[in-house]
């Protein structure tokens, strides 16, 4: 029983991180119909920046904030300089550009920081809470992870739902041409969307770094898990991304705990295949056709 509780709590914590990556992918998919495969590389770069700051003596929180801000800037730059050229072109162009960027970023990181993974400190203690003499597999740092991801998701939801900026962003995503005819600077909204998405990705990077270490290829699995979570949630729904992330976290935690951690990545791919075969529109998307 304790084991089940442990695995559940652990699943929620890792699931929150998958949810953050899934959100990063969903925000971009919604606005540009592009799956940003470079997200894993982008969050790797910003986590490296945080890691470099910490080794040069900066505080964890300064590094944390710089990672998020550099994620925001990097996302905006990638949209402006690269993706703008393939938006509205055949989807394969965007796929190849994002994959190319992923490979490029991983190579550049290896050249600058080397290929040996390095450790990364957690924000808070990773000694589990003790309840009635037993120590749980859930620590203050996990509480922080869950709260900060859910908090950021809630802030994003507020931004999209309750502000005029969010209204402009949604309009640009749903109907770019009509939005332009209403005076919305759609290009700016797309850049902002990429910047916000990349910020969420960088958040996930910093949060997951203590357990996967920082290296050019250390974040590849996170991208796969985040993508699976996004597909589970329907790829189009931010709420679905969060729920998908948590569900995937739980599922993988049970698989890892009961069947062995070697099966975790395999399980994620099986889940991805099952969702795509059985319910390709995702578990939570409310199918709304666009009618003319």
């Amino acid at each position: 029983m304790t084991r089940f509780v442990d695995l559940t709590l652990n699943g929620i914590s890792t699931g929150a991180i998958y949810a953050a990556v899934a959100l990063a992918l969903v925000i971009i998919w919604r606005s540009t119909r592009i799956v940003n495969f470079a997200q894993g590389g982008m969050l790797m770069i910003t986590t490296f920046i945080a890691s470099a700051l910490i080794s040069s003596g900066a505080s964890y929180w300064l590094a944390f904030v710089v990672a998020l801000l550099s994620g925001f800037v990097l996302g905006g730059l990638v949209e402006r300089l690269l993706m703008r050229r393939v938006e509205g072109k055949p989807p394969l162009n965007a796929v190849i550009v994002t994959f190319g960027l992923l490979i490029l970023l991983e190579a550049v990181a290896g050249m600058i920081w080397g290929n040996t993974p390095r450790s990364f400190p957690p924000a808070f203690s990773i000694r589990g809470y003790s309840v009635g003499g037993t120590r749980l597999l859930f620590a203050p740092n996990d509480t922080f992870i869950v709260l900060v991801v859910l908090g950021s998701a809630a802030l994003l939801a507020l931004l999209f739902r309750r502000t005029t900026l969010g209204l402009r962003m949604r309009a640009s995503a749903f109907a770019p041409e009509v939005a332009r005819l209403l005076g919305v600077r759609v290009g700016g909204m797309l850049t902002l969307g990429w910047a916000l998405a990349s910020l969420m990705g960088s958040l996930a990077g910093v949060l997951v770094a203590p357990s996967v270490f920082v290296g050019p290829n250390q974040f590849d699995p996170i991208l796969v898990f985040g993508f699976t979570a996004a597909v589970m949630g329907g790829l189009d729904s931010p709420a679905g991304a969060v729920v998908g992330g948590l569900l995937l976290g739980l599922a993988l935690s049970y698989v890892g705990g009961y069947e062995g951690s070697a099966l975790v990545t395999l399980a994620a791919l099986v889940i991805l295949l099952l969702v795509l075969m059985v319910r390709p529109q995702g578990l939570f998307s409310t199918p709304r056709e666009r009618r003319v």
């Binding site: 005029t164 309009a171 749903f174 109907a175 041409e177 332009r180 005819l181 209403l182 919305v184 666009r290």
Partner: protein, 236 residues
């Protein structure tokens, strides 16, 4: 004669080898409605899309109050006071009625028309304010698109087939409203219609397009009276 707001001269727009608009000249004055008539494929929609900047002309000029719109981005042209209500799919179906309306006036800031005024013009929209625009009927959607354009208090209103697919009664109401809008708010209206009879009933002037060229123009009443023209191009 009141001031000319919109002046189009020698406008040519091509899609690849196809010349959709072929040397069109027209002008619309403050408070007046000019109807652009013609069959499918006559170039009416392309004319509007060129004026609002969605398509770039091959040659020719579009001027708003003497100011050239050449090379300006769509959103810049909108902010100069040109509102384009596109054909059919103008509403953003995923947003609610109220969100659609709010969006129309965002760039105007405080200068925007209160959404409440749109509800007074189109009472059916008030009951649907919280519903996604995708759930509205065709007539309600058309009201929403026009209302949303008015929120920004435009100087020039480009209307593309506002009566398309609407019941005759609703269509007539919308046409009446277009005429009132133009007169009361001194908006210059360029009204594109296939339904020539109902468009000419509210227009001051009309131009008839065929294969991208103007084949006839004149006062609306003269065009209605011209039997040959009606039979050749307008089909009624």
């Amino acid at each position: 004669m009141s001031a000319t707001l919109l002046q189009v001269e020698g406008l040519v727009t091509e899609y690849g080898p196809v010349r959709a608009v072929d040397g069109v000249d027209l002008s619309v004055s403050e408070g007046a409605v000019t109807a652009v008539l013609g069959a499918n494929g006559a170039g009416k929609t392309t004319l509007l899309r060129t004026i609002s900047g969605l398509v770039r002309p091959r040659s020719g000029t579009v001027e708003l109050e003497g100011r050239s719109l050449k090379g300006l981005a769509v959103e810049r042209i909108v902010r100069l006071g040109v509102a384009h209500v596109p054909e059919g799919r103008g509403v953003i179906t995923e947003l609610t009625t109220e969100e659609n309306l709010a969006l129309g006036g965002l760039w105007r800031g405080r200068g925007a028309m209160p959404v409440e005024e749109v509800y007074e013009l189109f009472p059916p929209l008030r009951e649907r304010r919280r519903q996604p625009a995708g759930s509205l009927s065709g007539g309600e959607r058309q009201m929403l698109s026009i209302g949303r354009a008015l929120v920004a208090r435009p100087r020039v209103l480009l209307l593309d087939e506002p009566s398309l697919g609407l019941a005759p009664l609703v269509s007539r109401e919308i046409m009446e409203l277009v005429r009132r809008m133009a007169a009361e708010r001194s908006v210059a209206v360029l009204l594109v219609e296939q339904n020539a009879r109902s468009a000419l009933a509210v227009a001051d002037r009309g131009v008839v397009l065929n294969l991208g060229r103007i084949v006839a123009e004149g006062d609306a009443s003269d065009l209605i009276a011209d039997e040959d023209l009606r039979r050749a191009y307008l089909g009624f």
